[in-house]
């Protein structure tokens, strides 16, 4: 994984400082703990809590990203085994198992000390756990399970996930926003109570504004990737996405870095510079990549595969005009619910597609990004991310004649992904993409 053939994928220079910023997160939280500051363990929360953490000076770490890091560094196995020994079924989320194993070791073996072998300085014992109801059951069951090891209070962030028709029914959206705002208000009270800290509302407004701006820049950057050849490869997206999905620390500085990234991508568009040498196939990647086998993308890049867009759920909210919305919590609610969850529902309903949040956006991507195919990567231990991919494959074919290659793997358990086998399949998939290019032409589709 370390030895990447640099020329295969033309990486963005402006990506690297963002990457570095992201790696800072853990160090910062360790320092915070040393300084007696409270830290939170938080699930990726679609910005609901991040701004609040920032405004209250709570250093947050994100066990999901940390588990991904452990996996990428090959440090996960002992934690997975430990989780198994603790009596949790092995079919559960690899991130969760890694984190539960880590926590069991830290609390039961080491009396709360960070395990010496922990990558990136480790995650220090938190003062509070912030889980979420959105996007997966593990999102709250996992932190609830941590209660065996951590005697710290927990809050579960609520986020409605309506069906397409139901979510578009009269008044539903406003009702959802209202619900989230009420919840966030309680959440702030909860943090103030258990951490005896005060919320600085002005600062919150400013942070929310910065977040929105970051989201906008990041969104527009991804819009630029619609151009041919695609100027930015999914590898660069993944390297930077945590800056937006788990925004902590100095947002103003981050915002600058993302602006620089935008400029570099813009420059490439203007000069028709693609992220792979000869873009032969424009491919979308669905779900998280095999962190432990990223060399796959270099090999494919050599064969002209350009990954132009990736899973919807890891993208920033679609920017919306919130002028006149003064309550920062309401801004958050609208940004997260309206900008992400329900933002593509209208299109879905028109298309007669009912999986508005996770399924349908892939269809829009296929059109907008003129994709030749999708690389679907079901994560064998993550039902939330995978349960719908077989369905998505069918919809893409039925509706758009866009084929997808379905290769199973996992986010953490390296043993579940077979690189050689995957490469064989991609070879056959090229013939398929060629075929359906013709079919789409015959059916008068524009790509």
């Amino acid at each position: 994984m370390a030895q990447e053939k640099k020329r295969a994928i033309n990486r963005l220079q402006t990506m690297r400082p963002i990457r570095a910023e992201i790696d800072e997160i853990y160090k910062r939280s360790v320092e915070a703990v040393k300084a007696g500051e409270p830290t939170a363990w938080a699930m990726v929360n679609y910005w609901l809590a991040d701004a609040i953490f920032n405004a209250m000076d709570i250093a947050a770490v994100y066990p999901e990203s940390y588990s991904a890091a452990c996996a990428a560094m090959g440090a996960a196995q002992p934690y997975l085994d430990r989780c198994d020994e603790e009596g949790f079924p092995t079919h559960m989320c690899g991130y969760a198992r890694n984190c539960i194993g880590y926590t069991a070791r830290m609390m039961n073996d080491l009396g709360g000390e960070i395990p010496p072998e922990a990558p990136m300085g480790g995650m220090p014992k938190p003062a509070v756990l912030v889980s979420r109801g959105l996007s997966c059951d593990a999102g709250f069951k996992w932190f609830q399970a941590l209660g065996r090891y951590l005697d710290v209070p927990m809050w579960t962030l609520e986020m409605p996930i309506p069906g397409v028709e139901e979510g578009l029914s009269e008044g539903a959206y406003e009702q959802n926003v209202e619900f989230i705002v009420k919840e966030l208000r309680e959440f702030v009270k909860f943090l103030e109570r258990v951490l005896s800290k005060k919320m600085d509302w002005d600062r919150l407004s400013e942070t929310v504004h910065d977040l929105q701006e970051m989201g906008r820049v990041w969104h527009e950057t991804n819009e630029l990737r619609k151009s041919i050849p695609c100027p930015m490869h999914s590898r660069d997206f993944w390297s930077c996405m945590n800056g937006v999905t788990t925004p902590t620390g100095d947002l103003k500085k981050k915002l600058e870095l993302y602006r620089n990234l935008y400029d570099e991508v813009k420059y490439r568009v203007e000069n028709k510079i693609g992220s792979v040498a000869q873009e032969k196939y424009r491919v979308g990647f669905t779900e998280l990549p095999p962190w432990h086998s990223l060399s796959l993308f270099d090999t494919l890049a050599e064969r002209g595969w350009n990954f132009a867009i990736e899973t919807w759920g890891y993208h920033p909210p679609i920017p919306m005009d919130l002028t006149g919305v003064n309550d920062p919590l309401e801004r958050l609610a609208r940004m997260s619910c309206g900008g992400l969850i329900t933002s593509r529902f209208r299109g879905a309903l028109q298309a007669g597609e009912y999986m508005g949040f996770l399924g349908y956006p892939n269809l829009e991507y296929a059109k907008e990004y003129k994709l030749d195919g999708f690389f679907l990567h079901p994560l064998l231990t993550c039902r939330a991310a995978s349960a719908h991919l077989w369905y998505v494959q069918d919809r893409l074919m039925q509706k758009l004649k866009v084929p997808s290659l379905l290769i199973e793997g996992d986010i953490v358990d390296i043993r579940l992904f077979d690189l050689a086998d995957a490469l064989k399949k991609t070879e056959a998939f090229e013939e398929i993409m060629d075929h359906y290019k013709e079919v789409r032409k015959a059916e008068g589709m524009e790509w």
Partner: protein, 389 residues
């Protein structure tokens, strides 16, 4: 013989051909609405003269068609349910009512709707906590469900009608408790196998008929001579849905009496009653969100004290099990779950912690929702019973 077996025979007949009755009713012009899991509000369907019919899987039927749109690494119960729908086993339904029970349940609702077009379909979101705001939100959700049913039936649902329906369903819940009381003696007057058949029968016929049936069954059990043998083990069975008697039969045949359960075709579904409130939706919202004790809902203990939070957490989540164990004089617990069920999977170590804190022997069985996977469990079960002595 005092009275020739009526109720239990009927129960068995219904269990063996669940859709028979609703198909008859459909022929008479009634509309049948399928529902999956415990969250769609039954009272509203009943009040609008619809027949709610619980959609289940079939562990005796290999899953084939569902493999086309669901992977094999998700809950086999849900896969099986969808599989039956795709095999047109549920074509007699006029509609489906689904709710956000779990990730796969949510995805599957949309998949179902895409491939099967019943005249009526509704997906209800369900909050993941019991926060105050969540409860208010859930009330809005069931209001939405009510609206959709009203426009489907083109009838207005008055709160009087709704309250009447609540009453009838509460009667059923009371009768079920009465039935469960017959399991308190040692030996219990009725086997868990028969109780499960009763529960599954209730979920296949209109509530009024169900109540009739329950009365017959209860009288019959009280009067009849033959009942289960005395056994050393008085078990409670906990976990994911059981919609086929074979697992229960397996356990009882090894030599135990299952006298209590915490599953959603048992107490989880029937225990919580609906308080008839000024606005009936308040009582309903509370019953369905807070009353139903499914691990899919997160019950945090929000307390300032940060010490000993775990013990409080366990008490808050599983306290009700203690009451069951006392009242039914349970001496061992079998935890069971279908493979790939996340909400139960994460729960298992915590439940075991709680049971151990009560000094109650317990064991965990995982199965893949197929007959074949049950046979190998016999040894585990028997060994567990040998531990109980």
């Amino acid at each position: 013989m005092a009275k020739e077996s009526k109720g239990l025979t009927k129960v068995k007949e219904i269990y063996q051909d669940r859709p028979r009755r609703v198909k008859e009713l459909k022929a008479e012009g009634r509309k049948v609405i399928g529902y999956l899991c415990a969250y769609p509000v039954l009272e509203m369907m009943t009040a609008l003269d619809l027949v709610p019919y619980r959609v289940l899987g079939n562990m005796r039927e290999p899953i084939t068609k569902a493999d086309a749109c669901l992977p094999t690494m998700v809950c086999p119960f849900l896969r099986s349910s969808l599989d039956l729908a795709l095999k047109d086993e549920y074509e007699f339904l006029d509609g489906m009512a689904m709710a956000h029970i779990c990730d796969v349940g949510e995805r599957m609702a949309h998949i179902w709707k895409t491939y099967r077009h019943y005249p009526y379909f509704y997906f209800m979101d369900v909050p993941h906590t019991v926060h105050k705001a969540a409860l208010e939100k859930f009330k809005e959700e069931i209001k939405g469900f009510k609206k959709s049913l009203e426009s489907f039936t083109r009838k207005e649902l008055s709160s009087e009608k709704l309250k009447k329906a609540i009453k009838v369903h509460n009667d059923q819940r009371t009768l079920v408790r009465e039935l469960y009381d017959l399991r308190k003696p040692d030996p219990p007057l009725v086997s868990a196998t028969q109780v499960l058949q009763v529960m599954l029968a209730l979920e296949s016929i209109p509530v009024e008929e169900g109540n009739e049936l329950l009365r017959e069954v209860i009288d019959e059990i009280k009067e009849r001579q033959e009942g289960p043998q005395k056994q050393a083990a008085r078990l409670l069975i906990w976990g994911s849905i059981i919609d086929d008697v074979s697992l229960i039969e397996t356990i009882e045949s090894v030599g135990a009496n299952i006298v209590m359960d915490d599953i959603c075709v048992g107490t989880r579904f029937y225990w919580p009653e609906v308080e008839i409130t000024q606005d009936p939706l308040d009582g309903l919202a509370y019953r369905y969100l807070v009353g139903i004790k499914c691990p899919r809902t997160c019950r945090e203990v929000i307390s300032d004290q940060t010490k000993k939070a775990y013990a409080a957490d366990l008490e808050n989540r599983f306290g009700y099990l203690k009451d069951y164990i006392k009242a039914w004089n349970v001496n061992g617990v079998i935890l069971q779950s279908v493979r790939y069920c996340d909400t139960h999977g994460y729960e298992v170590p915590a439940v075991r912690d709680y049971l151990n804190s009560l000094g109650l022997p317990n064991t965990y069985l995982e199965h893949d929702y197929s007959q074949g996977s049950l046979a190998p469990l016999r040894t585990r079960i028997q060994a567990f019973l040998e531990i109980l002595g």
